[in-house]
């Protein structure tokens, strides 16, 4: 499981919320989260019980937002008050004492400030914009180091022993799923994949092949080589994406092109900052997948991010469809489990409704992706035959 990504997403969600709400409090305004919830509650009828507790539509959201906002404020006030008291005490007592004592107490006060600041930072009560930049920079440096190290890396006999427990579990889970031809939700993350030694990665690729899954031929050439799989080193950038194992399609020559052009979206937009973060690097795949008569003469111009606009759109729709299906499955399962645990209809009902809704979305996405790809390909073929035609406006009345 992408534990790191999960933690980062949760943290960044709550950190951002804390920053905005604390800033609002500092300015004496109602935090936007609470304001929004209150407006929704009022829009939905705005009922309250005799004691003032909100009821009706949007009540829970308002209460949740208020609780969070109150907690932010209470903590901030408590900490600031305590620090102020200590400073006041120091100001009173200092004139009576010698320099050494004063220096020591000042050091304690500053140390306390530092600890509070760190605590506040962890709980999202301070401005973190600088922190974010440093983090991205650190990651970029780590990434460069890793790439350099990999370039020099020689195969070690005890690679499997160097894994942490967490990594071992992850590898076992992925290997288990892939060797049975099952996809994992979510895919193993980029950082996690390249955190594994090349021998272990080769092992996983072999397991995927045994399970009948397909992994892009341009992905992780070193591991592919080690695993004895065909390697395509034509991609110009280091791959920025997780392995994105895909089930093999029904044996169909045209479908092979569709699958090779698919790329998994790396679901960590806030994390991946290292140099050269491109959207999609499947140019090599697309070129290899077009029919033999048009590899060099194909006039389909890839967009700057690689892959044509319509192919990329279709690929993204398919990715979204898969993610949605994952959630549909998970939420439906949760609904059933909660129902079995005797949670009320108000909880498992909506969860089951979501199952239906998300299923519709996934179907829509899949159908549209297919239409876009097929229609786009057909018109592209037509332009291959007659590339001098300027566009639809010239030929449609």
């Amino acid at each position: 499981m992408e534990a790191i990504f999960l933690a980062c997403m949760v943290i960044s969600y709550f950190l951002t919320k804390g920053k905005v709400d604390s800033t609002a409090y500092a300015n004496g305004k109602e935090p936007p989260g609470v304001a929004k919830a209150r407006m929704r509650h009022e829009a939905g009828g705005g009922g309250r019980t005799a004691s003032g507790r909100p009821t009706g539509k949007g009540a829970f959201r308002l209460m949740a937002a208020s609780r969070w906002a109150n907690a932010c404020l209470a903590t901030k006030q408590r900490a600031d008050h305590k620090a102020a008291r200590r400073r006041a005490w120091y100001a009173e007592t200092a004139p009576l004492k010698d320099a050494e004592w004063r220096a020591k107490q000042l050091r304690k006060l500053d140390k306390g400030d530092g600890i509070r600041a760190k605590w506040a930072q962890e709980h999202g009560l301070l401005d973190l914009s600088e922190y974010r930049e440093r983090k991205a920079e650190d990651q970029a440096w780590k990434e460069n180091e890793r790439r350099n190290a990999e370039a020099d890396e020689t195969a070690g006999p005890d690679e499997a022993d160097t894994l942490t427990d967490e990594q071992r579990q992850l590898v076992a889970r992925i290997k288990d799923a892939w060797s049975q031809g099952k996809l994992t939700y979510p895919d193993i993350g980029y950082d996690q994949w390249y955190g594994l030694p090349v021998g272990v990665r080769a092992d996983l690729l072999k397991a995927a092949q045994e399970g009948g899954l397909e992994i892009r031929s341009t992905f992780d050439p070193d591991a592919r080589e080690r695993a004895g799989l065909p390697v395509d080193r034509s991609a110009t950038e280091g791959q920025r994406r997780p392995p994105a194992a895909r089930k093999k399609p029904p044996a169909d020559a045209e479908q092979a092109g569709t699958d090779q052009a698919r790329a998994a979206e790396d679901p960590a937009p806030t994390e991946s900052a290292p140099a050269g973060d491109t959207e999609d690097t499947s140019t090599g795949d697309t070129a290899a997948a077009t029919p033999p008569e048009a590899p060099a003469s194909s006039t389909a111009t890839p967009s700057s991010t690689g892959g044509t606009v319509y192919e990329q759109g279709a690929a993204e729709l398919l990715n979204s469809a898969e993610e949605i299906e994952g959630y549909k499955h998970a939420l439906g399962g949760l609904g059933r489990d909660l129902e079995a645990l005797k949670w009320g209809e108000e909880v498992h009902g909506p969860l089951n409704d979501m199952h239906t809704g998300l299923a519709s979305v996934a179907t829509i996405y899949r159908d549209l992706a297919e239409l876009i790809k097929n229609q786009g390909d057909q018109v592209n073929d037509a332009y291959d035959e007659a590339p001098w035609v300027p566009g639809p406006e010239a030929v449609l009345s």
């Binding site: 969600y13 829970f60 939700y185 979204s320 949760l334 909506p350």
Partner: protein
């Protein structure tokens, strides 16, 4: 992400995982909008279903947030009540099925 949603955690954990799911769905909705815009800019047509899908995702997100709050906040209310009134036992004995 979807892996992390299971019913065996505490109510706060479940609520958290649902909030994360909501954020993920938001990303998917944003992608939907971006794709629709891109295709519209390039004069593609017949993609009205993208609007429909966007609507369905919005509805799902609302439901998800609703459930997350019910589980998280509701769970907390009941937990605090039980912790303050430790004598109380089963729900049925309070006259509730």
């Amino acid at each position: 992400m979807a892996d992390s949603i299971d019913a065996t955690g505490s109510t706060d954990e479940i609520a958290n995982s649902l909030f994360v799911a909501d954020a993920e769905l938001e990303a998917i909705a944003a992608r939907n909008d971006r794709l629709r815009q891109t295709f519209e800019n390039e004069q593609w047509s017949g993609l009205d279903q993208l609007t429909q899908a966007r609507q369905l995702i919005s509805t799902a997100r609302d439901q998800l947030a609703d459930v997350a709050n019910k589980i998280g906040v509701g769970g907390q209310i009941v937990r605090e009540a039980h912790q303050k009134n430790q004598m109380v036992g089963s729900k049925e004995s309070l006259g509730r099925s």
